[in-house]
Subunit: 346 residues, 2 copies
Amino acid sequence: MDTPSKSTMHSATSRTGLEVRLAARPEGLPGPGDFEIAEVAVPDPAAGQVLVRNLFMSLEPGMLMLIAGTSGLPMPRYEIGEVMYGAAIGEVVASADPSLGAGDLVMHRFGWREYAVAQAGLFRRVDRHAYATPSTHLGSGLVAYVGLMDAAQLRPGDTVFVSSAAGATGNMAGQIARLKGASRVIGSAGSPEKVAYLTGKLGFDAAFDHHDGPIVDRLREAAPEGIDVYFDNVGGEQLHAAIEVMNPHGRIALCGALDRQGKGRPDDGPGNLLTVIGKRLTMRGFTASDHLDRAPEFDAQFRTWLSEGAIVHDETVIEGLANAPQALLGLIKGAYTGKTVVRLGT
Amino acid sequence: MDTPSKSTMHSATSRTGLEVRLAARPEGLPGPGDFEIAEVAVPDPAAGQVLVRNLFMSLEPGMLMLIAGTSGLPMPRYEIGEVMYGAAIGEVVASADPSLGAGDLVMHRFGWREYAVAQAGLFRRVDRHAYATPSTHLGSGLVAYVGLMDAAQLRPGDTVFVSSAAGATGNMAGQIARLKGASRVIGSAGSPEKVAYLTGKLGFDAAFDHHDGPIVDRLREAAPEGIDVYFDNVGGEQLHAAIEVMNPHGRIALCGALDRQGKGRPDDGPGNLLTVIGKRLTMRGFTASDHLDRAPEFDAQFRTWLSEGAIVHDETVIEGLANAPQALLGLIKGAYTGKTVVRLGT
């Protein structure tokens, strides 16, 4: 083993790390050939920069939209031949800026690579002692929280339906809805095991498998008095069904469109917009980035819920960057439960 | 001529009037055979009731939904064999309730008939001197007003797009948007004559014929800096295009779905819901009935605008109840400009 303090600075010029680039823009779902894994030299940080060794990166269904180059995205698509990006957490190895120092734990957008070198202002220091594992910082709780509180205007007593409820955002949305006063929480998922997970470990009041017959019938059975809030991760038939089962003045938070992404092609929107008018429903697209002012409030609540055992935070951990492209496809296909992260270093 | 005061009470028992009943529930658009026009005896008002001779009734595209029996409506569908209903204005002929007296001008929901007899509480007295013609009370200004102010949260400086803008609600929405501070108002309509009407008499900044090439291209030309508010009367391709051209955080008031109604069958919703998420758009269905508290405020503004010549209130008047079914079909097909009313009496 090298002596850490000296070797760190000395070996920086010869340090290499893996990164994942988009190799081609696929028509439908990407395959292994659409990604390129390269080993690159890691430069020393220039003045004002820091060098970060990544520990974990987030895998998110929305990355498929950045690969497809879908129009109307709130962030730049991935470009062919360039390294991809995404939320990650790492440790500062070397700093050429006074704002950060070696050993700091930082959140940033330079995922899909083992080492990141960039301006210090693009990294945000987080509390090393906040959670048992740094990957918890990558959780989707804030997205779920602002979707419920801001986009869907959740009120105590609401009946809430969450699609893709065993996934990262969905399982947070269902649990947070309950903690914020929903009287009944219903989830859908893609397998009997996930349905059992929702009504068992996560404490949902009802759940169903979206493969199991007409969704509108399953939803009506699960919500005999109708639903007031729908947290939509999928679009498609589930959105149509939610509109049918909604109570007047119901609110829909549009968070994702997995149904479309899974097919890799545009999906028809719900054909029941007259019902949206008749019931005076609100459908609102949102992203967490518009609501970062909610982060301190959410973080405080989340830590309290975790410490009290009031909320379950499950993770699927993929080992190593080389496995990340295949894991992204698995994520889209529903292979994982809870938040999916990739371990990039230890 | 009879002496009015005496004959009114005496002849009431032998008075007859026309009414229009739904004869069948058509699959697509209704035809003449789906309506039955009957002459019926008009009873004297019982205790607590009034007898009203109708002067005008409103024709509205939404009536097609009541004929079709579309699910999710905020009001009861028309039943086969029963007289249809809708907004109307008339004059009290005889009253058996102290709250109303002969000669009062009243608004109510008993359209599609020449005479209405019902509980006095179902009629609302209006100011006989408010407008030059009683039909102005049937205008769609309040719908447009609450759609802009409540559903779309109109802000000064917004660029506003209105579809079916030469129609009753659309022409009000475009004019009211301007009067409430929109910086640019764009309309679509179904003929070159209507387009000229929008940019000419009504003062829209830009307008286009929705038959004229890809709607998204016409809309981009008309709104090079994007749109902030879309007042949607049609759904379909225009809604899809509006989502494409909207600025981030844009707001869509869902008022009607003429595009679907004109086809008489369900329409696919917009396939670009990912764009709704990416741009963080809000789509909100609404009906004026939820916002009747706005009526006094709107009425006062509307009278001022009319008296100052700041707003144009155009009407198409159909003569006689027997012509109303055919006129409803003409309305759906875009035959008329401005508000369409049927004169039932003079």
